[in-house]
Subunit: 311 residues, 2 copies
């Protein structure tokens, strides 16, 4: 992949080829994959019309793969979030025509030459409201990482910037009171919630000690909202996984892989498997059932048609 | 305090008046405070000469308070880090003439119109080398937070940006191999290491999966460096405190308060006190002895002259 004339990353055909992906699923014992667009293609920086065109192309591709192998693939679309109007138009197509389970959005919406929209910006909230109305799951993945230009070494945009982006997204949603305004909205955040779980003490303390700054839009504190959204399990550390289970609840942590990228879990589920005290019931939740709850009744029905899934 | 013509923060006399501070110490059962400059005064954005002048003024003030009440106050100086030459000159004055225990520096050195220096930049390393030679402790506090201009609501520069800054500083030191190059250097990081402890799984995985990007300067992985530096205890959460104890070791976590600011711990030591399973010996380490180890033999000697301290 070339970006602005320089190599961004070498990728292999497991990025786009469903046959290769199915083979690797079989190798890894994965029954179902949820497909989504790689964040670098969000293209929120582009003109809304161009991003709309690109979204349609990408969503058609994902939907085609899902239609061809409904036992193995579910899909999340991407939206031209820089235009709520076009985003909702494409969202309706994703849900009504393409049969996708929802969408994936960035941790904020970058806008060329203008301030970013955070996820509690009214423009974004308009789209989130439509997602709730259309029963679309919303997965938030970090991108356009803060501080990137000032941290050129050691892959720090990925190791420090991405977790901060996810915390920024979660704090915007929670402190913006968005889940209070749209209680039907199903949201999940990547990488176990990034830096949010490890700094929740600080965030909660901020809410309590400076309500004039922090508690202006939400009537619930961050801790009081725990359990009303999902995070994935991609934390690469047993203690961190136990922490997010304790914080978010056993029903709100869902297997995350970042497949097929190196920062992902090379053998999906191995961190969950490595924790001996997790019961078989809990493992089933973490490995799939919680994802189905997040993805919604239609996705759940599709998967249950093809696989034996415990209740 | 006015900054660029607008109100930055209202502060009270406990910010500058040693009598008020001593009274509040007595109220809170604090025997010794380590004084340092509020990060907004680092002034790395200014000309080096102006920052040097300001550093001298601030350091003289802190040193004067410490000299007047050696039983109650130890001090850390501030340096004009934008000029390694002037920084080292002022560092020598701090250590040789002012009797300070070391210095406090930012999580990176911002430079007007130029890329930031991260803490593994050769200019910064030159100063850190001098700190080790002069036996100066180095306390790293986040400032000039990444993403601030794009997160105007909910105090997110403090709640998300600061923890990310501390992780950026720690990753720069560890992945830059700085503690391998300067093993005598005593460094401590604020706020329990910010977002570093909660994302160490991701950081370590990055080191292992993309050594070409992450392991270019360090021969030890981040996990292998744990125990070679200090963090403070200011995490506002029992589980987070237990996590940093487990990660960094019982000898490397030192009471942090952010006194007298609202994001600090209003009753210093209350989080430590709240964890019943901590033994009396461990509590003494957390509440003071680990700080003395970090601050060095001269500070330790001064305090032992005035207070009965367990060995």
């Amino acid at each position: 992949m070339i970006r602005h004339g320089s190599v961004f990353r070498e990728i292999a055909q497991n990025c786009w080829d469903p046959v290769t992906r199915a083979e690797e699923c079989q190798r890894d014992g994965v029954h179902v994959q949820v497909l989504s667009t790689i964040p670098i293609l969000f293209s929120y920086w582009a003109s809304a019309e161009h991003a709309h065109d690109l979204s349609r192309y990408l969503n058609d591709h994902i939907a085609g793969i899902c239609r061809a192998q409904p036992a193995n693939f579910l899909g999340l679309g991407t939206l031209p979030m820089q235009s709520p109007k076009l985003a909702i138009k494409e969202l309706e197509r994703c849900m009504d025509q393409l049969g996708l389970a929802g969408v994936q959005i960035g941790s904020h919406i970058e806008r060329t030459g203008e301030p970013d929209w955070n996820l509690d910006d009214p423009h974004v909230v308009e789209v989130l409201q439509a997602c709730a109305s259309l029963n679309a799951a919303v997965f938030v993945h970090p991108w356009d990482m803060m501080g990137s230009s000032q941290m050129p070494r050691h892959w720090l945009p990925w190791l420090v910037g991405m977790p901060a982006e996810t915390a920024r997204a979660m704090c915007s949603i929670l402190l913006g009171g968005i889940l209070e305004k749209i209680p039907a909205l199903r949201m999940a955040f990547a990488h176990g919630g990034g830096s949010f779980p490890g700094t929740i003490g600080r965030i909660e303390h901020g809410y309590n000690c400076r309500p004039d700054l922090v508690a202006t839009n939400a009537t619930k504190s961050p801790r009081e909202t725990l359990g009303s959204f999902w995070v994935d399990s991609l934390v690469h550390d047993q203690d961190a996984l136990k922490t997010i289970m304790r914080l978010f609840g056993e029903n709100k942590v869902a297997l995350g892989t970042d497949y097929p990228f190196p920062l992902g879990e090379q053998h999906p589920g191995s961190l969950i498997d490595s924790i001996e005290e997790f019961s078989p019931t809990l493992r089933e939740k973490l490995r799939g059932l919680n994802s189905l709850d997040f993805l919604g009744p239609s996705a759940t029905k599709q998967i249950r048609q093809h696989h034996q899934v415990s209740p």
